[in-house]
Every structure is written in C-alpha cells, then in structure tokens.
Symmetry: C2
Subunit: 131 residues, 2 copies
C-alpha cells in the first residue's frame, strides 16, 4: 500500500476564515499573528500566520488523503523557514521515506511552499497502520 | 528573561467544542477521531482525539504564556505516546532546556499528561526572540 518514493501533493489555503477560526479555537492572539503594525515593526510584510495552522493541514493529509483510513500519527517534526501570510496558497508535497512493514509504520518527508516556490516549512511525520 | 531549568505548567481540556471546531476547521474526519465503533474495533476506549489539537495548545502556550510577546516558533517536534479522549484534562509542563543568547533562541522540552499521570505526548519546541 506504501512504497518508498511514493509522493503526494496538495494545495492548502491559509484563508481569513482559517486564521480567524484558529485564533478562536486556540486563543493564540499573539500580536505577530493579529497586529499588522507590530508584525511590520518586526520586519515582516504583515501578520504572520500561526505555524500550527500547517500542523492542522497535516492532520487532514494523514486522516483523509492516505490510501487507507487505518492510520494514526506516531510523531511529527516541523521547521518553519519563512513567514506565511494571510491568503497564501501553499503547495504541500510529501514523499514516503520508508515503509517499515514489520512494525506497520510509514515515514514521510514533507514541505510546504508558497506561490514564490519558497519553502515555508518542512519536516517529517511518522504514522502507524492500525490492524 | 529565560534561564535553563525555568518551568511552566498549565492545564488544557480537550472539550467536545475543541474537537468539533478542530474537525470543522481542518476537515480531518478520519473514523478513528469521529466513529466510536471504529475506534473501539481498533482497540481504543473511544474516539481518539487528533494529536494536532495538542499542537494548537502549543501555539497558545508560546504565543500567550511567555514572559514576552516578541516570540516566533522556529521548530517543533512531538511524539504521541498514548491516546487522548474527549473530555481529557491534560497537564502540560514545559522546561527551558537551553537559552542561546547569541542567536536569541530558546529551546523547551514539554510533555502532556492525562488525569492518570500517563504521558500522552512529549516533545521539543524551539522559539526565536524577535528584536
């Protein structure tokens, strides 16, 4: 079902609604994310979107886009490399780095790129296959 | 402002509203998270809450609970060790592992424990201090 080198790709949009609902859900109103004047004073082009919105997209990717629903996330790591702004359409891609059949685990490498093809985040995610 | 060994603790509740709003926001309706019969057939006590809800709590922790608002997340890693269920009240604790003044970075080690003091997730998070 999984083979090393298998790749997946998808687009995710950090819309105003996603940002608003994320703030409402988790209560992270840090001014970097909510105050344009603050964010610009810190050298950004505008409010920086929460990195953990991207982790929410990963939840969807694993939960909904695998060839099976019998999956659970074991671990994740993510590095934030460039700022994501409101309205950014992100090209997500993930590749199977390893499929460990004896322990029913699959490891993916992934990246999110913005419209300028700049990597905004990258990392790894390991899932287990439920029996 | 940060010293190695500084510790923070806090409670987070995975309420029905948090679960519902997370599903609505990111669209991860995997049956493990939404179908009790499926989850039980896989050996769990009930629907398993999305691990990335915990990453949302981390967003709040960094964005709102630091001694300064001038912060940005550089990287995160998390390992999911035990299932989280609807209504679980999680004891979160984080400790400063290192403060790297020359690069304005702080590294935390964290864990989430359930009411039975079982670690449900643990990991590391590195932040930068904005100038």
């Amino acid at each position: 079902m999984f083979t090393q080198g298998d790749s997946y790709s998808q687009q995710f949009t950090v819309s105003e609604a996603v940002h608003r609902d994320f703030v409402a859900l988790f209560g992270d109103e840090n001014p970097l994310h909510t105050d344009e004047v603050f964010a610009k004073a810190k050298g950004f082009q505008g409010c920086v979107m929460h990195g953990n919105i991207l982790n929410g997209f990963l939840s969807y990717f694993i939960g909904e886009c695998m060839p099976t629903k019998d999956v659970i996330i074991h671990s994740q790591e993510i590095q934030f490399k460039n700022a994501v702004y409101m309205g950014d359409v992100l090209d997500f891609s993930a590749t199977v780095e390893g499929f460990y059949e004896s322990v029913n685990a699959v490891e993916f490498k992934f990246s999110f790129k913005n419209a300028a093809s700049k990597v905004v985040a990258k990392g790894k995610i390991q899932i287990g296959l439920l029996q």
